[in-house]
C-alpha cells in the first residue's frame, strides 16, 4: 500500500462526512442503530471494519490511538489495526489507557476508568440485539419503533426456566435511557456496568451490517433482568496470577496437559501497570517481574 495515495485516515472526505453525520444522529438518539453506507475496507468484514470506519472518521492528527482486542494491545488483529492507522493517519499510538484519546476495542472495556476527552470505539459484529430472536431486519426495525421488547424478556425468562439463570454471558442486552434495547457488542457481561454513566463518548460501528450507534457520556444504561433474577456481572473467582488484581476480568490460561491453569488480567495494560507499581500475584515472584 502506498500511503501517499490515500487520504488522511484512509477514507475519502465524502465518506467521512457520511459517517460523521451518522455518528451525530447516533449520539442524539442514544442506543438507536443508524444505518450508514459502510464501505469496503482493506480488511475483511467481521474483522473490525465498522470500528475502523468510525475511528477513521473521528481521528485528528493530534490524537493518540490505542487498539485492543480481548483487552490486549498485542493480539494480532489489534496490532494489524493499529498499524493501519499508523500508516494511513500517522497518529501517535499507545498501549496506556490513560494516554489514549481514542481507543478502538473488540470485546472489552478497559479496566481503568475512562475520562472526559476520551472516545471508546467498539467493533460490533451483530448490532441488532433482537437478531437471534427474529432474523428479519424489517421485523426488528418495527419492534424497536414500537418499543416491543417482550420477545427479549421471554427469551431471558426461558433461560431461567431451563437453567435457573440467564444463560447469556457476553453481548448481554441493555436498555438505554429507558428506550432502546441495545447490543453492547460481545463484551463479557462483567463489563456491562461500565457502559452507563461513563465519562467518555462510546461509539459503536458495525461495518458488514451497516449500522452505527452511540452512547453519550453519563448515559443511563441498564442490563436487562428480572426482579427475582437481578443482573450479576461475573468473572472467574480468582485473583490475577501476575498482578494480584481481585477486581479485573481474567483470562484462563491452560499451562500444561495435567489440568494446570493460571488466571491473568485480560487487560494487558492494566496488568502491566500494576506490576510496574510492584504489585504481584501468585505466580509472579518479585525477581520474575
Amino acid at each position: 500500500m502506498s500511503e501517499a495515495a490515500y487520504n488522511f485516515a484512509y477514507l475519502d472526505e465524502a465518506t467521512k462526512r457520511m459517517i460523521r453525520r451518522a455518528l451525530l444522529k447516533g449520539l442524539a438518539i442514544p442506543g438507536y442503530q443508524v444505518p450508514f453506507a459502510s464501505r469496503e475496507m482493506p480488511m475483511p468484514y467481521g474483522w473490525g471494519t465498522g470500528g475502523v470506519q468510525v475511528t477513521a472518521a473521528c481521528l485528528t492528527p493530534e490524537d493518540c490511538l490505542k487498539v485492543i482486542d480481548q483487552g490486549a494491545d498485542d493480539t494480532t488483529n489489534a496490532v494489524s489495526i493499529r498499524k493501519f492507522f499508523e500508516r494511513t493517519a500517522g497518529v501517535a499510538t499507545t498501549e496506556h489507557t490513560a494516554e489514549a484519546s481514542v481507543i478502538q476495542t473488540r470485546h472489552r472495556i478497559p479496566e481503568q476508568a475512562l475520562t472526559e476527552g476520551q472516545i471508546l470505539v467498539y467493533q460490533v459484529p451483530i448490532p441488532e440485539p433482537l437478531r437471534f430472536l427474529e432474523p428479519r431486519e424489517s421485523e426488528t426495525r418495527r419492534m424497536h419503533a414500537l418499543e416491543e421488547y417482550g420477545l427479549m424478556h421471554v427469551k431471558l425468562y426461558e433461560d431461567i426456566a431451563r437453567h435457573g439463570a440467564i444463560a447469556t454471558s457476553y453481548a448481554y442486552p441493555v436498555k438505554v435511557e429507558g428506550r432502546y434495547v441495545m447490543d453492547p457488542s460481545p463484551i463479557p457481561k462483567f463489563d456491562n456496568p461500565k457502559l452507563g454513566g461513563n465519562a467518555a463518548i462510546q461509539l459503536f460501528g458495525a461495518g458488514r451490517e451497516q449500522r452505527i450507534y452511540a452512547l453519550p457520556p453519563y448515559t443511563q444504561v441498564v442490563s436487562l433482568d428480572f426482579e427475582d433474577h437481578p443482573f450479576e456481572p461475573s468473572k472467574a473467582d480468582h485473583d490475577c496470577d501476575l498482578c494480584g488484581a481481585a477486581q479485573s476480568y481474567l483470562d484462563e490460561v491452560i499451562t500444561d496437559d495435567r489440568g494446570g491453569r493460571m488466571f491473568i488480567c485480560s487487560d494487558t495494560d492494566f496488568c502491566a501497570s500494576r506490576r510496574a507499581d510492584g504489585l504481584r500475584g501468585r505466580l509472579s515472584p518479585e525477581e520474575a517481574a
Binding site: 444505518p35 453506507a37 459502510s38 475496507m41 474483522w47 463479557p188
Partner: protein, 362 residues
C-alpha cells in the same frame, strides 16, 4: 511466563513473507504475467470484475495473481480498491439493443431475426481433458465471418409486439446504489438486481437451482442470452452532450416465465432479468431466475416460503465478501467471550449440583 498471544507483530510479518514466497511457488517455473492471466484466464478475470463491481481486466488479473488464484480473495482486493476511487459521475444506461454480439442464443425460438450465434461456448464440448494443452502448441485459429453490423433486436420484443409479454416499465428515478446507501428493506427491483449482479456466483446459482427444483418455481425458459460489447456513454455537463468513454463486455439474459393474468386480464408471460459484466452466462441465467422468483409479490403470486422468494434472505446473504469476512472472523480470538461462557457453565453446573445434593439429602 506463558502468554500465547505475545509477539503478534513479528508473527504477522513473518506470515506475510511466507505468503509472498508461497504465492510465487517454485522460482524455477517462469512467473505468470498479468497479460497471461488476462488473456488466458479470461473467465476468472470476468468473474472478479463482475463480483468486484469494477470493469478493469488488468486490475482483475493482478488481483487474481496476488490472491494466488483465490477468486473471492481477488474480488475482495478489487472491492477494497474500488471503494477508494473518486466518482466523476454516472454513465448513461447501456443500450444492450446496440450490443455487438459474440454470442446470442434463444431457447424459445428455433430461428430468430439476427440468427443464433453460438460464440466461444463450452456448450456441446465433450468434457474430456485435452492433454495436448499440457504441451506448448500453436495458437488455434477459428474460422471467421464478417461481424454483424446491424444491431440485433431483443427476441422478447417479438413477443412483446403481440402483447404476450408483460410490458417493460420504464423507471424514472435513478436507481439506488447499494455501494453508497445502506441496504434497506423492502428492496425494490433495481436494488435487488444490483445486489444480484455483484452477488456470489455460487450462491446465486444455488438459489436459481432451488427454484427449478420447486422452491419457488417460475417455469423459466431462456428467451435470450446474449454476450457482447456495449458502448458506455457519459453526459459531460461542460459539453452538454454524451460522449463514449469506453466499451465493456456484458452478458445479458432474459427469461420468459409463466403467466400473470386473471379472469379480467388476459394471460401474459412474465420476465426475469440478468445482466453481468464480462462473459458470465451461468451467473446471468441464475440471476434472471432469482430475479423472477423475487418478483412474486408484484406479480400477485403466492409466497410459498421458498428461500429464493425471500428478498431479505437472498440480499443479505448473496455478497461473498461480507459472507467470507464474517465467516472467517471466527478464527479471531474470542477468548474473552469464551471465558465468560466457561464461568457461566461452571456456575450453572455448580448450582445444579447443589440442588441435586440437597435433594439427595432430603
Amino acid at each position: 511466563m506463558y502468554v500465547a498471544t505475545k509477539g503478534g507483530e513479528r508473527a504477522i510479518e513473518a506470515a506475510h513473507q511466507w505468503l509472498a514466497e508461497a504465492r510465487r511457488g517454485d522460482p524455477a517455473v517462469p512467473e505468470l504475467s498479468i497479460a497471461q492471466i488476462r488473456e488466458q484466464m479470461t473467465l476468472a478475470v470476468n468473474r472478479v470484475m463482475a463480483e468486484g463491481s469494477l470493469y478493469d481486466p488488468d486490475l482483475a488479473a493482478l488481483a487474481i495473481k496476488q490472491a494466488r488464484g483465490d477468486l473471492i480473495e481477488a474480488i475482495f482486493l478489487i472491492r477494497a480498491y474500488r471503494t477508494t476511487l473518486p466518482r466523476f459521475g454516472g454513465a448513461l444506461p447501456v443500450e444492450t439493443d446496440e450490443m455487438a454480439v459474440t454470442r446470442r442464443i434463444s431457447a424459445t425460438f428455433k430461428d430468430v431475426p439476427g440468427g443464433q450465434v453460438l460464440g466461444p461456448t463450452f456448450d456441446y464440448t465433450h468434457r474430456l481433458l485435452d492433454f495436448a494443452l499440457m504441451a506448448d502448441g500453436d495458437a488455434p485459429q477459428a474460422a471467421r465471418k464478417p461481424a454483424e453490423t446491424q444491431p440485433v433486436p431483443h427476441i422478447l420484443q417479438l413477443l412483446d409486439r403481440d402483447g404476450l409479454m408483460e410490458p417493460l416499465t420504464q423507471g424514472e428515478a435513478t436507481p439506488p446504489d447499494l455501494t453508497r446507501e445502506p441496504l434497506e428493506m423492502p428492496a425494490d427491483r433495481p436494488l435487488r438486481l444490483q445486489a444480484l449482479a455483484r452477488g456470489d456466483e455460487g450462491f446465486v446459482l444455488s438459489m436459481a437451482y432451488s427454484t427449478q427444483r420447486g422452491y419457488g418455481r417460475t417455469h423459466a425458459f431462456v428467451g435470450e442470452l446474449r454476450i457482447g460489447t456495449c458502448a458506455v456513454e457519459m453526459e459531460i455537463p461542460e459539453l452538454g452532450f454524451a460522449v463514449e468513454i469506453g466499451e465493456i463486455e456484458l452478458t445479458e439474459c432474459e427469461t420468459v416465465n409463466q403467466f400473470t393474468g386473471s379472469k379480467t386480464e388476459p394471460a401474459q408471460f412474465t420476465r426475469g432479468y440478468g445482466l453481468v459484466m464480462g462473459q458470465s452466462e451461468r451467473k446471468a441465467i441464475s440471476m434472471s431466475l432469482v430475479d423472477r422468483a423475487l418478483r412474486w409479490d408484484e406479480l400477485g403470486e403466492e409466497n410459498t416460503g421458498a428461500p429464493a422468494q425471500d428478498a431479505e434472505f437472498v440480499l443479505y446473504h448473496c455478497d461473498n465478501i461480507q459472507a467470507t469476512g464474517f465467516l472467517e472472523h471466527i478464527k479471531l480470538p474470542h477468548y474473552v467471550d469464551f471465558q465468560s461462557e466457561l464461568e457461566l457453565i461452571r456456575k450453572l453446573r455448580r448450582d445444579a449440583g447443589a440442588e441435586t445434593c440437597k435433594e439427595a439429602a432430603e
